[in-house]
Symmetry: C2
Subunit: 200 residues, 2 copies
């Protein structure tokens, strides 16, 4: 293993071109000094360094298109709260160190304690990147932040988001079909067929 | 959805640059007329069209390296049986339409019914492809095909493969450590640290 140690100094990780879990496990056992990355992990996490939903969506779609050559879509989306200067915005997913829905929602509740203006909007940018060009589309969904969570549907801030379209119900209390009809993501992605046609 | 239908005529599938299962599900619900492929599926199945283990291993490693730019290893391996003209060889995994261990082993048993010469060998080629070049290594493990399966370890033809190194035990009856010490894959992949060093 001394040699493996030296090799690792130059080149820490290799991708193994297989979907066979048995082979992956055996090779990891045979050369434990080298980090073997599964094929599915090889693409890595697309970057997301922009300061707008649109920039981030484009960045993610370009990253994957460059590596696969396949028509790629990406979504960047988040919650903007008026009283918080439209935070958390593009940082909605990583607003807390834990980056979990639970921790993020706890921060949202704490940030709005005693604040009367609870207006907010969900925003979504979608990007499409193909060999024939790039397109983006956006969607916005207005609502109010609830005082307490309700509902088990959706994800993210949905249990606290009361969309204007469904008075008295949070986004986690409406059906998926109802959500998509009015949601930021529904609006943005319903443009996809036309955008594909344009680039066809 | 008429528009989606038309778009699909040109461009059936798009990759979605996300690992967020919620977003993936929602977008599939929002635009059901378009096939949304998860990021993890985007690399596709590497080709395997060669007639030698080495050619196939190189082909697979090159495919993934070209798409990820990351140092990539691949394994191509199989069972060669003397009395069968060294079949199934590179077709070991897809020797039957089912391409399952069970169906393949049934075919092996049937093919050797009444045949006295049950000598066989496992072979493995590994390929390493990086921006600095390509390397391959091979390993062979000799043995005999058992009349009945034994053991729950390993995979593939292991319950029927009696390696010369462990008289009386099948490759599925030895420990993983014992298997790797003598196996085709163990021999091939123990070259990896040195090959990484050479390309370092």
């Amino acid at each position: 293993m001394a040699d493996a140690g030296r090799a690792v100094g130059h080149l820490m990780r290799v991708v193994m071109a297989t979907r066979n879990e048995h082979k992956l496990r055996e090779v990891r056992e045979i050369v434990p000094g080298i980090e073997i990355v599964a094929l599915d992990e090889a693409l890595g996490e697309p970057p997301e360094t922009g300061d707008s939903f649109e920039a981030n969506a484009l960045e993610k779609a370009r990253y994957v298109f460059a590596r696969t050559g396949l028509p790629t879509i990406a979504d960047d989306s988040g919650l903007e709260v008026s009283a918080l200067g439209w935070a958390p915005g593009v940082r909605s997913k990583r607003w807390t160190p834990e980056a979990t829905d639970r921790a993020n929602n706890e921060r949202l509740v704490a940030s709005l304690r005693g604040i009367e203006n609870r207006r907010a909007r969900y925003r979504c940018a979608m990007a499409l990147v193909t060999s024939r060009g790039e397109r983006t589309a956006e969607g916005t969904c207005w609502g109010t932040i609830a005082l307490a969570p309700r509902g088990a549907g959706g994800f993210g801030y949905d249990p606290y988001f009361l969309p204007d379209a469904y008075p008295g119900r949070t986004m986690a209390e409406v059906t998926a079909e109802e959500k998509h009809r009015v949601s930021h993501r529904g609006q943005a992605f319903r443009a996809l067929p036309e955008l594909l046609d344009e680039l066809g």
